[in-house]
């Protein structure tokens, strides 16, 4: 924790205690929702209305505004999960465990979205729902990695050891993802030639890039919201014997 400004260190320290985490999250949530909705609406508006149709793909390219940010998020969340896992393993910070496991279903969701939207985009463009294209294939394997993490967590009863297991698996996965990605890329160029890269034109017009970036940021905020929602539930389950949870449920009972 050296080289970190004092106020951030204090913030992190407070966040590391479950009741504070719960309270801070509660207070943060409306703001996150607000920013997310604003970004989402402006992203959708500029993506679906303002951006002109693509000269090759017509209107169908508009799937890009959810497909590409989801694909980015799927990798981003996996690396966040692995980082949180590493912190949990090394410093045994309970909250890092919670963040790691709460990220997994959100990441799996984005991976699923990237696959489905990719397939829906591929049908009109390539004439088939599924091609063994390098990116779709790596995304599919990434989905399996996510499902493995979720399955492992649910299979182990003791939640603290389950978190350690998840952290180890996420770290192993994060080292493997570049290798898997590289191998799949290599495999697909070997087998079919780089003809399906109609989708990545060397440059993308600014009017399309801006909504894409707005959606990407909106999805980051969505991730924060969804992850924190899960984290809150997870913290409650783990801390159910603590006094602060008891008094909270008592208030619930009274009301």
């Amino acid at each position: 924790m050296f080289l970190v400004p004092g106020f951030i260190e204090r913030f992190l320290h407070r966040m590391a205690s479950p009741p504070h985490f719960y309270a801070i999250t509660e207070r943060l949530m409306p703001w996150l929702w607000g920013i997310f909705s604003l970004l989402l609406l402006s992203g959708l508006y500029s993506g679906l209305f303002l951006a002109p149709p693509d000269y090759q793909q017509g209107e169908s390219y508009r799937i890009i505004f959810i497909h590409v940010p989801s694909a980015w998020m799927s990798l981003f969340i996996y690396s966040v999960m692995a980082m949180a896992g590493a912190i949990a393993l090394v410093w045994r910070i309970k909250l890092a465990e919670v963040v790691a496991i709460s990220s997994a279903p959100v990441g799996a969701g984005f991976t699923f979205i990237a696959l489905v939207t990719g397939s829906l985009w591929g049908k009109p463009m390539w004439g088939t729902w599924w091609v063994w294209d390098a990116r779709l294939t790596s995304e599919l394997i990434l989905l399996f990695l996510y499902l493995g993490v979720i399955g492992l967590y649910n299979a182990i009863d003791d939640k603290r050891s389950a978190s350690r297991a998840v952290a180890i698996l996420a770290l192993v996965g994060v080292v493997n993802i570049p290798i898997i990605h590289y191998s799949v890329e290599w495999w697909s160029t070997l087998h079919q030639g780089p003809t399906v890269t109609k989708l990545d034109k060397p440059s993308i017009h600014v009017s399309m890039l801006i909504p894409l970036l707005i959606m990407a940021v909106a999805f980051k905020f969505y991730y924060l919201i969804a992850m924190l929602q899960r984290a809150k539930t997870e913290v409650l389950v783990r801390e159910q014997n603590a006094q602060w949870v008891k008094s909270m449920t008592e208030q619930e009972l009274a009301s």
């Binding site: 399996f144 050891s161 698996l169 070997l190």
Partner: protein, 224 residues
Amino acid sequence: MSLLQAFLAIVRRDLVLAFRRRSEIANPLLFFILIITLFPLGVGAQPKLLQAIAPGIIWVSALLAAMLSLDGLFRSDFDDGSLELLLLSPYPTSVLVLGKITAHWLVTGLPLLLIAPLLALLLGISERALGTLLLTLLLGTPVLSLIGAIGVALTVGLRRGGMLMSLLVLPLYVPVLIFASSAVDMATAGLPVSAQINIMVSILLLALVLTPWPAATALKMSIN
């Protein structure tokens, strides 16, 4: 020096155990041959077709055989308490785990190399590709044992860990499958294979250095 002795003691113990139990060596091998026999029955016996998909068949079967045998890697040690003693040893657990993986490979990976000529015969792989097949098996099967050890270590404490283990481990096997089967493919077509072999060597070295630590950590987690 004594660390080496501890390592060798583990390898020797597991080899002796495997020879006393026998089925541990025979079952994965028979399973491997059996799956390969099933493929011609499933896809038809045209020599051209079989030759084309042979590398894929061999490697997918090798992955499945490795999966089958992996389940026993820590199972009996977990059941009889030897695993606890392994973890309480003052020597680094990762080295002892590497010993167990080594023994596992000697018992289940190495025999695959020995029956490779038989497979070449069954699937009509050309003679010039046989050497490449052997080389990919030599480089690839240890990686299967090494990566698989992490999956088993994570699931050994669970009642029905087998299915979960394959979900955890099979996606990680993708690079080995791709490079190994494409090397055999290329060799059949008479093309150079040094790129694939070089990559497989680096994957093996990487796995050798990087996998024992997470496997050891996962075992500590499983034992509680």
